[in-house]
Amino acid sequence: MSRFLPSPPLSIAVLVLWLLLVAEFSAGQLVLGIALAIALPLVAGALQPERAHVRRTRAVFVLLARVLWDIVLSNIEVARRILGPESALTPTFVWLPLDLTNIHGITTLASIITLTPGTVSAELSEDRRHLLIHCFNLDDAEQLLATIKARYEAPLKEIFP
């Protein structure tokens, strides 16, 4: 977290991105990639109002795997419903109360909610305490909220304290 490396995860991301892009693992590209990995976050950091601090790297991977799996499952579910009769759908809005206070955490949560089919995060209340979610088909709001909180919000609270 030095002055030159404000956000190591971001720098790593840039480096990985670079190496993937050039599709070539050579000394030259590595040097260039490292240079970019240092320089670009510095530029971008100037625009960032709040710093992201990632703890618990392991939790990140667990969450990632979980989300990917959920995406696959819910995709199938939603596809089934789209192809099925529309009358069977009960779309609803529901407010999710948030425990997360960190904006990065909230954003990640909202992104996960959006990326997993069947739910879309539609709005964040002004005080950042509630997230409005639109559900494709909602039978039990309580259960949904509880699921989200347990499966996603809890690990996120660890990652973004």
Partner: protein, 132 residues
Amino acid sequence: MSALAEILLSLLIAIGTFFVLVGSFGLFKLSEFFKRLHGPTKASTLGVGCILIASIAFHGLRGDGLGLREILITLFLFLTAPISAHVMARAALRLSPEQRPPQPPAASATMSKAAESDAQASPAAGRGPDAD
């Protein structure tokens, strides 16, 4: 390329294409914006993802050089899809304010704490958000 690989790849392509089609079909078929919103933004992510994996494998197996870089497309889609879905939803809410649900029961700080405790009190078990 082995036959198995061909079949697998074809399958992957078929699945991906299927999801892309379903997404657009949902957009076409469903009757109201918020329902339609679910189709494309979701099915397309998995659809494109499958096709990408197929493509990576395809080019890798063909010997065009293993290009993992297609992964980046998915990465960027994962970064950007929530943004567009979110702003579109907000735009739709603005266009038809009657659809907007009432403000959360606890808009003030104290009330939101109460809501928080409510949420914690509720059972935390379940498969996922699609477990409806």
